[in-house]
């Protein structure tokens, strides 16, 4: 944020802060390592507030749970901001010195009265006010979020609404205060840092900045490459739909099961002229490919680095030889380059990393030797005398402020695209569980005493209204398709709210139901909000 694509705080700060808002995150199940750090904070006296439509197992640890309606995050955040301003708790000195756009923001949130927020979110007004004031008054405070914020058609606005709260109260750039997206894998942060997003080069550097583009072109021996940003995943599917994209090279992703509106995704992938999949498993997507490139596992069969949610770059070492035929990603890519006419040689992982360090200022000081000595280093680390950066944006508190000021963004509430109606009266939200990972490629091969397979979780009240019992198979339909799935009665869900995961695509293709309404800036689909109906399946008349 403010030009840096990473969480601002370190894990240690979560242990020593005074208040944590987990917003759209069931970290206890989906980020269990981070949650351990968070719990140390809670045990040490930190107040925990959970904002989530479901009362998750994370929310059970919270002092206050705000069970908002799905997709009403901005209404809540804006109303909190209004309360903070009206209570005189805005950090006016920080705002005037270190931010821009406050007036427009304040005008925008003025329309978000507690009454309106209660109507949009379902959360009682008094509780909204209580949480707003608690956050503003805390000496140190953090907001942490995950996919509950980002898997929406207005994901970027959701994030901006949370950042606004941090700027409003001066809770960023100081030890123990921060704004933190939690990353769902050991190297989601690293993937973005290395430029695996359409507009960025390694080191989160702007591809469309001619100076930067030139720097890379020179380093790569005068190589030519586009100076304009490419497509993100959702745009690629749109391009396939238009016929503008006919060949696809996929590395370590399973879109045939992970994309929203799965029927469409599979149809488009199946219509490609040429599909190459590089993966450690023969995923559903790989099974559709013309060429499969078996890869070594990144965490045990390869050398390299990963970057976690606190921006810490850590070494990964090879412990095992990959199985016969599987090759290191670097080997595969270099071999491809050679066959395409460019001999890149056979660089080691360290050589590739050193090249990255020579081009990415924020990684410049992270020699392998230093990563080992210091147990990983948090970026930015500009040179080899620098020990890394525990938290970001301390610059905003310097006199005078260093670098650009942090902008407020006035954002408006915009409810989920898939509206509830008489035909589709129930809100389905999707998510993950402790024992499984995404589409199950990596987890369904082994058993877990917790794992019970896919089910449609609904409240006891809804089950009674529909007339179904626990374990009974029902037909779930959205505007896009239907699946049959067993009901599991979940007392922590409120009437009108249902939950499914995408862990068991072979059993139930949850993404047949989800909508691919996509945030134009981040390219993320609104997995969190579908409108569904639930129908009993009529008993089969036994054949006589």
């Amino acid at each position: 944020m403010f030009g840096a694509g990473g969480g601002t705080s370190s894990y240690q700060e979560a242990e020593e802060t005074d208040l944590i808002i987990l917003w759209g995150s069931n970290a206890r199940e989906t980020h269990p390592i981070f949650f351990h750090h968070l719990l140390r904070g809670v045990r040490g006296g930190a107040k925990l507030i959970a904002v989530d439509p479901r009362r998750t197992s994370s929310a059970e640890w919270a002092d206050i749970w705000l069970g908002i309606d799905v997709g009403s995050d901005i209404a809540l955040a804006n109303a909190m901001a209004r309360e903070i301003i009206h209570a005189g708790l805005a950090h006016t000195e920080f705002i005037s010195r270190a931010t821009t756009g406050y007036e427009e923001f304040a005008r925008c949130v003025e329309a978000y009265t507690l009454e309106r927020a209660e109507a949009e979110t379902g959360v009682p007004a008094a509780a909204i006010k209580e949480v707003a004031l608690a956050y503003a008054r805390a000496e140190k405070g953090m907001i942490c979020w995950t996919l509950g914020i980002t898997e929406h058609h207005n994901a970027t606005d959701n994030v901006l609404a949370l950042i606004n709260l941090g700027l409003l109260t001066g809770k960023v750039g100081r030890y123990g205060s921060g704004l933190n997206p939690l990353r769902g894998q050991n190297n989601v942060q690293g993937g973005g840092d290395m430029g695996a997003i359409p507009a960025r080069l390694p080191g989160f550097q702007d591809l469309e900045d001619p100076e930067i583009h030139d720097k890379f072109a020179r380093a790569w021996g005068g190589a030519t490459f586009p100076g304009r940003k490419g497509w993100h995943l959702s745009e690629m599917f749109e391009a396939m739909d238009r016929g503008d994209l006919s060949s696809l090279y996929i590395v370590g992703e399973n879109p045939a099961r992970s994309e929203a509106d799965q029927g469409r995704a599979v149809r488009l992938l199946g219509g490609l002229d040429h599909l190459v999949v590089q993966d450690i498993f023969l995923t559903h997507t790989a099974q559709m490919a013309h060429v499969v490139l078996p890869a070594a596992a990144g965490w045990a069969e390869s050398e390299g680095t990963v970057t976690n949610s606190e921006r810490r770059v850590q070494r990964v070492r090879r412990a095992l030889e990959p199985p016969a035929g599987a090759r290191d990603d670097i080997d595969i890519i270099c071999e491809l380059a050679r066959r395409l006419g460019s001999d890149w040689g056979h660089p080691t992982a360290e050589q590739v990393w050193d090249e990255c360090r020579s081009l990415s200022p924020m990684h410049a000081g992270m020699a392998y030797r230093r990563l080992e000595e210091l147990g990983g280093i948090q970026w930015p680390c500009p040179d080899e005398s620098h020990r890394g950066t525990q938290f970001l944006h301390a610059r905003l508190w310097k006199h005078p402020v260093e670098g650009p000021r942090a902008p407020f963004h006035a954002v408006e509430h915009d409810p989920p695209v898939d509206r509830l109606s008489e035909e589709f009266p129930i809100r389905l939200t999707t998510g993950r569980r402790l024992d499984s990972f995404n589409t199950g490629v990596q987890t369904n091969e082994y058993t877990s005493p917790l794992r019970k397979g896919e089910a449609l979780l609904i409240s006891p009240e809804d089950a009674q209204r529909i007339g179904v019992e626990d374990g009974e198979c029902v037909r779930v339909s959205s505007r896009r398709g239907s699946v049959d799935v067993n009901v599991r009665i979940e007392p922590t869900l409120r009437p009108g709210l249902a939950f499914m995961t995408l862990h068991f695509p072979d059993q139930v293709s949850t993404n047949i139901l989800t909508i691919d309404a996509t945030d134009p800036k981040s390219g993320t689909a609104e997995f969190k909000a579908s409108a569904i109906r639930i129908d009993k399946i009529p008993a089969q008349v036994p054949a006589s």
Partner: protein, 592 residues
């Protein structure tokens, strides 16, 4: 928290038992019905978890109501207190009192420990086994119930809306049959103190009405507290220090020094804990004091809290002492109602775990956890109950405090020896004609006590209970003082004096002690968990006469004993081999 037990939901009766203690649930999230606001809002977290310490009282309420703790009831308790069920299950299964399988409402616990064995408990148990099947279904063998002066003893309980429990001693087979057949329970006997010269601590026993504050006042009650309030905290601690009183719980730590540490501790609040978890086999003095002079203990606690500025007091009494518990609760209530007692004192029930007499295990138990001892340091005076500075004193210690404040520390120290001041209570039982509690000046020879209690043809004396050691007849001139017993490698311990005449089967006594420690080891640390088990196995093998080579077994036992002494976390493991070692080496029980 999200992990649920596999049992069904709690019954209405179980929920009522829990709610009776915690109040009605205020929301769906606390286990109640769904209210409108529950859909979008829940409070909990720290506020709910801060009631974690109520887990044991809640489990007692369930056990009292149902006779066991079902999975459904446990899950409901967990929901109410925000405790992961797996963790709560660990607590339930730790304590002997709580049943995890369905049981009848009536349960009969028959003591088969050392003193009761001397009084025919084995024959009683054999008859019960014959008629009603093995222990653990209708009737249960129990470790020492603290009624050794009237052995054999039993504890009977009936679960239900009107939970009842009562100690019965002496207990007969006819009574057992009548009770198991649904008959009435015998009324508790009134305590009669054995005759002895000029008791001091015991002077009110039998004279004062234990249920009447007025009666206690007429016997000079609460003058000490009044004086303490006048002279103030520093002066009280000075008197205690001058008295050179050593703690009577077993560890003999200087009371004045402990009080001073707590008084000076910066952290707040300070807690006071009266350790009334008297569970050392052969020990019953604290029970007699609580049953017969409860106001004095309350007064002692009030003085201790005043001197060390404790904000809150707890009295932790073993669940097997129902009458003592009721008398203490009554005394606290009366003293509070009269405004004499400003300190808030909560009475907490143990749940059948000897280890909870260890002070840090006791803290964990009050906090609603398994009663596993903590490593020391930090010591309780710095980091005790709920992590705060805590003063822990035994019942008898607090009773001494009352007298010291009135008569002055110097006068108190005039009795006894230089290093062991004052008088001490001893519990004489086993083969004596006049069992009971005796108060003697420190330094009195054991022989004098044995003569008063009526011991004849003494084969051995177990001094200090199962954690103490055996004395031979030629050692019974030992002076009863801390230094006197230490000189012969023994200990006063809890004040238990178990006497065995020439008819006693010492092999069976040693085995019972080994079984006791194996059963009561909390299992937390390896030396004790494995050591107590191996000790019992080896002893069984030796007594069974198998393998012949007793000498190598004795060596093995002494190796295990050394490992337990050196490496156990707490006193249980450190002393679990003492009695057996002394039995083999001093008494030559096995002639090896």
């Amino acid at each position: 928290m999200d992990i649920r037990t596999t049992g069904g939901p709690a019954t209405a009766e179980e929920m009522a038992a829990v709610d009776g203690l915690l109040g009605e649930p205020e929301s769906l999230w606390e286990g109640g019905e769904r209210r409108g606001s529950d859909d979008h809002l829940a409070y909990g977290g720290r506020a709910t978890r801060s009631r974690r310490h109520l887990l044991l009282p809640v489990l007692h309420a369930i056990q009292d109501r149902s006779g066991w703790v079902s999975r459904g009831a446990l899950e409901y308790a967990c929901r109410r207190l925000s405790i992961p069920p797996a963790e709560a299950y660990g607590v339930v299964s730790f304590y002997a009192r709580f049943g995890l399988q369905p049981r009848g409402a009536l349960s009969l616990h028959v003591c088969d420990d050392i003193a009761c064995k001397c009084a025919g408990a084995e024959e009683l148990c054999a008859a019960l086994e014959n008629a009603h099947g093995p222990s653990g279904v209708v009737w249960h063998r129990s470790p020492c119930l603290g009624l050794c002066d009237r052995a054999p003893a039993a504890l009977v309980e009936r679960a239900g809306m009107q939970h009842k429990d009562r100690q019965i001693a002496p207990f007969t087979l006819a009574q057992a049959e009548s009770i198991l057949g649904g008959g009435a329970w015998p009324e508790p006997a009134t305590y009669s103190m054995p005759r002895q010269a000029q008791p001091k601590l015991l002077r009110r026993i039998g004279a004062v009405d234990p249920e009447s504050l007025e009666s206690y006042r007429l016997h000079g009650g609460f003058t000490a507290l009044g004086r303490a309030e006048v002279i103030g905290s520093d002066a009280v601690i000075r008197e205690i220090t001058e008295s050179r009183l050593l703690g009577r719980g077993g560890a003999a730590f200087p009371t004045g020094r402990k009080w001073e540490s707590v008084a000076k501790a910066a952290a707040r609040p300070h807690y006071l804990v009266c350790n009334a978890d008297e569970s050392e086999p052969g020990t019953f003095k604290d029970r007699v004091l609580m049953e017969n002079d409860p106001f004095a203990i309350v007064e002692g606690m009030a003085i201790a809290a005043l001197a060390t500025s404790c904000e809150k007091g707890f009295l932790y009494v073993r669940t097997e002492y129902p009458l003592a518990r009721r008398r203490i609760e009554n005394a606290i209530a009366q003293a509070r109602a009269q405004g004499i007692l400003k300190l808030e004192i909560e009475v907490r029930r143990g749940a059948g775990a000897y280890i909870c007499g260890e002070e840090t295990a006791l803290f964990n138990s009050i906090e609603g956890k398994r009663g596993e001892p903590r490593n020391k340091p930090p010591f309780p005076v710095d980091v005790g109950l709920f992590g705060k500075p805590t003063l822990v004193n035994n019942v008898e210690t607090l009773l001494n405090v009352v007298d010291i404040v009135v008569e002055g520390g110097a006068s108190f120290a005039a009795t006894g020896t230089k290093d062991s001041t004052g008088t001490r209570l001893f519990c004489a039982s086993g083969h004596v004609t006049r069992p009971g509690i005796y108060e003697v000046a420190m330094g009195t020879p054991l022989r004098a006590l044995l003569d008063t209690a009526g011991a004849r043809k003494v084969q051995a004396v177990l001094l200090g209970g199962a954690a103490g050691s055996f004395l031979t007849p030629d050692q019974i001139d030992v002076p009863l003082s801390f230094e006197g017993t230490r000189a012969i490698g023994a200990t006063l311990g809890s004040g238990a004096v178990l006497v065995f005449d020439d008819t006693a089967d010492m092999k069976q006594v040693l085995l019972r002690i080994a079984r006791f420690f194996r059963d009561e080891s909390c299992g937390q640390c390896v030396p004790c968990r494995v050591g107590t088990k191996r000790q019992e196995e080896i002893l069984e093998r030796m007594l069974g006469g198998r393998d012949g080579d007793g000498r190598s077994d004795v060596l093995l036992l002494s190796d295990i004993a050394q490992a337990m002494r050196d490496a156990s976390i707490c006193g249980l493991g450190q002393t679990a081999a003492n009695a057996i070692a002394s039995g083999l080496t001093q008494l030559k029980v096995l002639n090896v």
